[in-house]
Symmetry: C2
Subunit: 517 residues, 2 copies
């Protein structure tokens, strides 16, 4: 065993000890002591590896919960993101960017219990920094810092959460968020309805049908809790319990309310009656007549707001996929008005449409920006976050099922040589075509085999190839080959760019007619 | 003073103490002790703020050396990046992505002295992680880990360096890198010449003329040092000294060689003769006849390689802006073959073209991937990194000089109302246009003032507006207004989409003819 291996073994043992102590709920002091020892051992390991030379002996891997993206994965991701950005821009969104880390203080007190999932940077003698946990808090910080009171922006970037990664369920520690938000003092439900429209357009464009966009309102939830007799200081924790209804049956949620949150069973049962309801405007009307809710100010305000947003959804053509759903609660504390969540639907065993996962969510948060303002000045905001990681996964699965080939490059034509010593001829032709804007490549080998060159075309789905040979060049011609059909044409060398461009235009036309990519 | 302020004052004092001790080169133990106290104080501050409620009392700011990007800055950045990506893809590059952090071990031993600039993450009980310092090392790790032996890829992402930020000189701690690399065993200088071509195309496309791409070769530098009598173990440090010639005059560099690197003056003088040379193929030929260099194996190999790459540059049409420059050395240790650097040229007082800054650089690094392979298996690589941050800055300065307005949204048409109570009409029209693919927006206020709506169009450079009024709607028409000329047309309400699309097509045609954006 090398010194390093000995050290690694010690670290492993010490790590196990710490886990054991934590499991046994030992005293904090005892645990802290052993954690300190662990950190010291790790620091030693680190010092050692600074000095050691290559090649290195550690296991090559990505940090836990992260991954690389191959060209194929990137091709899917880029095409999805392009489509989403197109929708955002169609609605007039500007783009902004913020740093990947923030002063830790900026994130403090924004995520409740989940704060423990924040990645901190090491104190290297400067500021105390943390990696961003979402894009909403940096957005609010940006607005407050720059005193911006109205903006419509999108932001697509990675965020970081030290969650237990569940690779099989597509949950990672580094993942994309894709946010659209409207900040400003506007009239009720007009920007809110446009956020719903944007979710609708994106899912439609990505062929994610069937889907449903569930809507609810925090005021209605508060009013409902109040009307059912939930103590005011339990609103948020009961809300969190309701939020679990998308994954757990009512019976379990009810049990949590009674046993963990100390709610009387009768109160829980009343909530249970409401949260099973969903519908559209007719449900709003019915609830406005409800003996309990109609007496509650918050509930009525929430219901009136729902009525308005459903009316706007009708105008924006989204109502067919919208559902007013009283079980929707959303986890985050900071929502103050409408909340929504889009879920994809699949068929269950009985052929009924059931949710197969949330792919977008958001709502109104009118009090967040004020938390950053010294005078607590508020900026009203409503926004939506597209769950792109899940969309990527769904699309990749679809492509795999259809066995569809994804192109990872955009090369239109490959310049191949049939004999030796033609590398400079290939380079000349490539250069001519690059100059006229054609996407072209050739082998980086001086004398590649013709078969290898043609295989490259097949592998990368390149539609056309130029094949040059000595005798043809002497006669002033080159061969143009359609890779799929293997048809070949003679083309005068001095008209090459022209003819190639004609062929590419023809090819593009055919492909857009076929609807293939 | 609040408890927090007292703590902050203590931290400030303790920080000053630590800096003083470091400045006075006190013993490591003493410094470590005081640093530990400092960290403990900071940890206390942190615990406290977890509990405190909003609004927060700290100064709102970005972490040192980082910044937000406003919609205007993003518009410039996005347009530059799009153009660069277009060139990369024209040459057949695929895209990949890697996590923002790596296991610290991956970065260890790759950056020499600069390792101290790496951002580490806090040990939160898991792996020891660091933020990436560049995109080249993660690329090499990706190749070794996935056993990829050939790929042509680009990667555009932010990297992190705890450098002293110099905002005035555009140096930040978080900045974009924009890399293109070709990995694989190919024939000499063929991929290398294409990297030069790519730099040429990008700078040309961004109108960054005049520029020059300096080329040199590490083997030639080694051979030259050897021929001049530099001891072998001083090659890299003399190389670093030569690298400073783009910023310092020869006399200073010579002084450094003699005083700091202990080189005899006669040796430094010989190097001085060579590093003032630059030219093209004729210089290669001359140096191949040089009495000292022609006797040195490395020098001759380097010169033969330079001859070949210049020949390929001639074919690729880049020779006019290429300069074989013996003063080019590049800072990084890992280069093994050709090196290059593109600099923008400006006029000095005398009207001569002088360098105003490096905007791209790169070279061949055949030994880096092997550092990650347990059997030290090498993958040959050559690549280039585009200095996009400097390109952004140059472009922004140009735009500011020309007083050119940059559009931050793509909205083509704005739907305005001339009277009250028309919000639903506006929404209907927006929806129709969205459905037919038009980029459109309207006010989120129920009854906005007409003037405010038209001002919005001017502010955001929206070319067309639709203005609806009650009497016109009754007569089945709406007004279409050209924002710039203030010309208005009546359009039948039921032909709106059609007419709008015709106008937009006409507008696009005019603008592409004018060459404006």
């Amino acid at each position: 065993m090398s010194a390093k291996e000995v050290l690694e073994e010690k670290i492993k043992q010490q790590g196990e000890l710490v886990r054991k102590l934590k499991g046994a709920k030992e005293s904090k002091e005892k645990i802290a002591e052993e954690v300190a020892k662990l950190l010291q051992l790790k620091a030693q390991l680190n010092d050692g590896s600074e000095a050691s030379g290559p090649p290195q002996k550690f296991t090559l891997k990505n940090p836990k919960g992260t991954r690389d993206f191959s060209p194929k994965e990137m091709a899917v991701r880029n095409s999805v993101l392009e489509k989403i950005i197109e929708v955002f821009r169609k609605h007039g969104a500007q783009s902004i960017d913020t740093p990947v880390f923030e002063l830790k203080e900026v994130l403090t007190g924004k995520y409740g219990e989940d704060s423990k999932l924040i990645y901190d940077l090491k104190d290297q003698g400067g500021e105390i920094l943390s990696l961003r946990y979402d894009l909403t808090v940096p957005f609010a910080r940006y607005l407050a810092m720059n005193k911006i009171t109205n903006i419509k922006r999108y932001h697509i970037a990675k965020v970081y959460r030290r969650d237990n990664p569940s690779i099989s369920r597509g949950r990672y520690r580094e993942f994309y968020q894709c946010d659209f938000d409207i900040a400003g003092s506007y009239d009720e439900m007009i920007p809110d309805a446009e956020c719903v429209k944007i979710v609708y357009e994106i899912l439609d464009k990505l062929n994610m049908t069937p889907f449903v966009i569930k809507l609810n309102h925090r005021l209605l939830l508060d009013g409902m809790f109040e009307a059912c007799g939930v103590p005011k200081d339990s609103f948020r924790c009961i809300c969190s319990a309701v939020d679990k209804l998308d994954k757990s049956p009512w019976e379990e949620v009810k049990k949590e309310m009674i046993e963990e949150k100390q709610l009387p069973e009768s109160v829980a049962d009343q909530i249970g009656e409401y949260v099973r309801l969903n519908g559209k405007t007719e449900l709003v009307e019915k609830l406005l007549q409800d003996p309990k809710l109609s007496q509650n100010k918050n509930a009525v305000a929430g219901l009136e707001a729902m009525k308005l947003v459903l009316q706007y959804c009708q105008i924006y053509g989204t109502l067919d996929r919208v559902s007013f759903d009283l079980s929707l609660a959303r986890g985050l504390d900071y929502y103050t008005g409408i909340i929504y969540e889009a879920v994809l639907l699949g068929d269950n065993d009985k052929g009924d449409e059931v949710s197969v996962g949330s792919v977008a969510g958001g709502g109104r948060y009118d009090n967040l920006v004020g938390m950053f303002d010294p005078k607590n000045k508020q900026v009203q905001c409503v926004g939506v976050s597209i769950g792109v990681e899940r969309l990527f996964a769904v699309l990749e699965a679809k492509l795999a099922t259809k066995n569809e080939k994804i192109r990872t490059t955009e090369i239109e034509i490959y310049v191949a040589s049939a004999q030796k010593n033609l590398v400079e001829e290939r380079m000349k032709i490539c250069n001519e075509l690059w100059e006229s804007g054609v996407k072209v490549e050739h082998s980086y080998k001086k004398n590649p085999k013709l078969l290898a060159q043609l295989q490259h075309c097949e592998e990368f789905g390149i539609p056309l190839a130029i094949i040059i040979g000595e005798s043809e060049l002497k006669n002033g011609i080159v061969k143009l080959r359609e890779v799929a059909s293997r048809k070949e044409f003679d083309v005068p060398r001095n008209k090459l760019s022209e003819v190639v461009k004609e062929h590419l235009a023809e090819y593009a036309k055919q492909n857009s007619c076929n609807g293939s990519s």
